[in-house]
């Protein structure tokens, strides 16, 4: 049960029950869609870029608690960031979910460290991030978990 408790941290359960920034963003000027064909999880990310910064961001879709909570938490972290900052943060997030090591000073995304013990779920945790990065790049192609390594 300890691995499972690590996987489903309170912060993750909270974001799953009460997702932040969920729904279409009427002012969005970028959108990208991600899907995980192995399980049918879907996530769309809507961005409003103000200059080179993310002025506003939202997501919608359907999937497991891990994918939905991750996308929800991601939107709270990316608001106000530049594309370069977003990519750097994703790098840190990916390290956390693949190694299980979360630096102490890191924000709530450290709650996803427990994912590393469930390799099959890493794709769930990164789905929303991939869609967000595609949206930032202006890449309308659907991000799919089958073409990236995590």
């Amino acid at each position: 049960m300890s691995d499972l408790a690590d996987l489903y941290q309170q912060v993750i359960l909270d974001h799953n029950r009460r997702p932040r920034n969920r729904g279409k963003l009427p002012t969005a000027n970028r959108v990208a869609h991600g899907d995980n064909p192995s399980c049918g999880d879907q996530c769309s990310v809507y961005l409003r870029l103000d200059g080179d910064r993310i002025g506003d961001i939202s997501f919608d879709g359907s999937g497991c608690a891990i994918s939905q909570a991750s996308a929800s938490l991601m939107t709270t972290q990316l608001k106000g960031k530049t594309a370069a900052e977003a990519e750097k943060l994703f790098g840190e997030f990916r390290d956390i979910v693949t190694t299980g090591n979360a630096p102490e000073e890191i924000s709530d995304i450290g709650a996803f460290a427990g994912v590393h013990a469930f390799p099959a779920r890493i794709k769930c945790a990164t789905l929303g991030w991939h869609a967000a990065l595609n949206a930032l790049k202006g890449d309308p192609v659907t991000a799919t978990t089958e073409t990236h390594k995590d």
Binding site: M1, D3, L4, L7, Y8, L13, N16, R17, S38, C39, G40, D41, Q42, S62, G63, C64, A65, I66, Q68, F118, R121, C124
Partner: protein, 411 residues
């Protein structure tokens, strides 16, 4: 009746702990476990008889050939085919259906023709027909599924309008891997025959679970896999009526299928060799024959009754869980030994991860049935699928695990 606890002793894999709990294997719709008898048959073949078939004149080759052709005869008997030559060994259901779709489709489908299938086929009995219809300029049509939860089964009234003389082929599943629905295959074949349509049955979920007789059903083609019926992976069967097979060109060509070859051309052996280019899966066929022996020694009618007992208990207990939506036939109605369900607010993947922590193997996802999921307004379900070695106690463990999950994710 067999002593079902003795049956469990036949399956070495079942006697292990997963995450500290005794394994409860409820993913039989994906693949079944293998009895000692099947494993021993594979070991015996590789340790004693391994050789190439149909080509050698030495002792081992003759032994391997006898065992391989013996396996074909055994499988023919298992489905009551009139002739062993009607049994083609393939990699599995998918390859079997693709073989018909390409060989038969290429020879017979023309623009304006209709290929008919149903709204709840596994992708392996959908995409090959999409491809065949596109290649020929034919149209693909679907017999609707009735009910908001798919509980009504095939719309047999709609079949009257859909089964026109333009329908050249009707492909349908025997048992839905997602809904548990059992199709009235004999009636479907009779009605297809009346308009001259060729029938193809996906029997992947049925052949190892109940008696099956291709002549009584009256189908033209029938496909299944060994691994879902206690046999090895990588071996499957395409049954085809001899009269149809003899007129069909091979889909895959190469060694072992030819009578005479020149630099420019080749002529084909009759079925089944015509459709088995290259060195076949000899060990797999032998293992499959051992699985046929195993299942028939227990009695497939008794296995069907056991599946039925389990699924009735499961339907009753699962129906009582809060927020559950079960798709397919309603409780009490006829269904095969599997149940697919979704919970409000808890995703199938979270259910499967939690159940695994309790040592229970389930399947979560779209079950290779994306269009059906979309039609039912779902993205995924959790599926528990039963077989001869499962017990009522295991269903109790499943229900207890699901209760724990609901409590964890509850408000």
């Amino acid at each position: 009746m067999p002593d079902w606890n003795n049956v469990r002793a036949d399956f070495p894999i079942l006697h292990q702990q997963v995450n500290g709990k005794p394994l409860v294997y409820l993913d039989n719709g994906a693949t079944s476990q293998k009895p000692r008898r099947v494993i021993d048959a594979l070991v015996h073949y590789y340790e004693r008889d391994n050789s190439n078939v149909h080509r050698g004149l030495h002792t081992l080759s003759m032994r391997a050939t006898d065992a391989y052709e013996g396996a074909r005869a055994r499988v023919a008997k298992f489905i009551n085919a009139a002739d062993s030559a009607e049994v083609i060994f393939t990699r599995g259901t998918t390859e079997s259906i693709n073989l018909v779709a390409r060989s038969w489709g290429h020879a017979h489908l023309k623009p304006g023709d209709v290929v008919l299938t149903t709204e709840f086929e596994h992708h392996s009995n959908l995409i090959p027909w999409q491809q065949a219809a596109k290649a020929a300029g034919a149209t693909l049509k679907f017999v609707p599924l009735l009910g908001a939860d798919g509980e009504g089964g095939l719309d047999l009234a709609a079949l009257d309008t859909l089964l026109t003389p333009q329908v050249k082929l009707f492909a349908f599943t025997h048992i839905s891997n997602t809904l548990g629905t059992i199709n009235p295959v004999t009636e479907l074949c009779r009605r297809a025959r009346a308009v001259g349509a060729v029938t193809v049955i996906d029997a992947a979920q049925s052949v190892g679970h109940a008696p099956l007789d291709v002549r009584q059903i009256g189908c033209d083609f029938l496909a299944f896999s060994g691994h879902k019926m206690c046999g090895p992976t990588g071996i499957g069967v395409l049954y085809g009526r001899r009269a149809l097979l003899d007129k069909l060109a091979p889909d895959e060509t190469g060694g072992g299928i030819v009578v005479s070859v020149t630099y420019q051309d080749a002529t084909w052996k009759p079925a089944p060799e015509r459709f088995e280019a290259g060195t076949p899966n000899v060990a797999g066929a032998i293992g499959l024959a051992a699985a046929c022996d195993y299942l028939d020694a227990l009695g497939r009618d008794k296995i069907a009754a056991h599946d039925d007992t389990l699924v009735r208990v499961a339907m009753e207990k699962l129906s009582a869980l809060p927020g559950i939506r079960i798709i397919g036939p309603r409780a009490g109605a006829e269904r095969s030994g599997l149940v697919s369900f979704a919970f409000t607010g808890v995703h199938a993947h979270d259910v499967v991860t939690f159940a695994d922590e309790d040592g229970i193997a389930l399947r979560g996802g779209h079950h290779c049935n994306q269009p059906l999921m979309r039609k039912l307004g779902l993205t995924s379900t959790t599926r528990a699928s039963f077989y001869l070695y499962n017990t009522v106690e295991e269903i109790d463990r499943l229900v207890a695990s699901l209760q724990r999950i609901l409590k964890f994710f509850g408000p």
